[in-house]
Symmetry: C2
Subunit: 216 residues, 2 copies
Amino acid sequence: MMWRDHSGRTLADYDRPSVAVDVALLTVVDDGLAVLLHERTGEHETGRWALPGTFLHVDETLAEAALRALRDKAGVTGHRPDQLGVLDRVDRDSRGRVLSVAHVDLVPAETLLTGGDGLRLAPVTELADASLPFDHDEIVARAVRWARDLHRLDPDPRGLLGAEFTLLELQRLHEAVAGTEFQKDTFRRIMIGGLDETGALSRGGVGKPARLFRRA
Amino acid sequence: MMWRDHSGRTLADYDRPSVAVDVALLTVVDDGLAVLLHERTGEHETGRWALPGTFLHVDETLAEAALRALRDKAGVTGHRPDQLGVLDRVDRDSRGRVLSVAHVDLVPAETLLTGGDGLRLAPVTELADASLPFDHDEIVARAVRWARDLHRLDPDPRGLLGAEFTLLELQRLHEAVAGTEFQKDTFRRIMIGGLDETGALSRGGVGKPARLFRRA
DNA sequence: AAAATAGTGTCTGTGAGACACTATGTT
DNA sequence: AACATAGTGTCTCACAGACACTATTTT
């Protein structure tokens, strides 16, 4: 049974491809990267978890469509989606010719008040190959690479930590994104150039209080 | 006067954007990078030089459309177009909502037998800002960055030289792409890991004959 | 005092960059 | 012999990575 839109036409009735937007919304939970999935509710696709996505409207930019997909499909506020590229396999969508412009965003876990209904945060290390429909596995892989590249030399580039933080807190974030552990002295030397000292010290913990920094 | 397609409809009659493909076809001439431009022949656009482009058909991939644009608009055979990204400003095309998926390719100058008719190779250093229509300046800028990144660590990644070449020939190519000059000893050390010696020597030149290499 | 965390002096290895020398061809 | 190009030994500098020591707090 062929997919039909609101006017009863199949996509093949049009002489041009459709353009969709899919978003890998990443966050950091439990010392690792996780991606937001939502449960598809269609005839033959109940129970399938996928990335939030939508079709691009004529009067909006790709970034606006990405933010709309997050809002409508996941009730979530994205921040600043970045474009990852176009997935264009001719047979990637059984409903017809649909290009997907993949996007990625990285937000603090607190902004994801996922009540649970049809939403799920999947640790990226636990996503088996071919566990997602379409080419969403590929999108997640690119998103993770994007996040790791972004965090290699720059302290907290997406501002996941608060305004002020200690070097240990910063290191924990970067280790979660990278999926590996760092040495504190090397990490300090890489990041210190992009940080300003606030002059204040962390309070309340055990051990020597750490200086607080903010992003330069 | 609104642009109309073959069936007399404007793009606004459709409820989805069109998808175009534009290609920055780069080559190396006169010690520098140049990009292939073709002269647009439309009502209000004669005399405008632009990148070759076309609309994506439903039954082809983006790479296929890019190669078709080069063939139809420039009579040129591309090799392996790479995707640079999607340009999606809502007002980027006055005819309606058109997304452009920018592509880049790099080919030997010999494959560009540009008879001259409506075709031109523009050195990228001589392209002033806003000299190209749409956002083609931006596409060329991204294409140049792509070529330079590609050549930073890899010897002749697109095989512009023949099967065998000397280190000096390789260096001249990489200097043309980068737009700067290198020291031969540093250049040698960067490239030597990706090269195999053929055992033969260059002949016919003045000075000590150089060893011939091929890409590993 | 013991434990925990913060911060740093210093050593090592690697590699880019450059100078300057040697090597081998042509004119 | 003079010149031109090829190829390389070696020095310097910067920096990543790591060890191990000192510093400052809580318990």
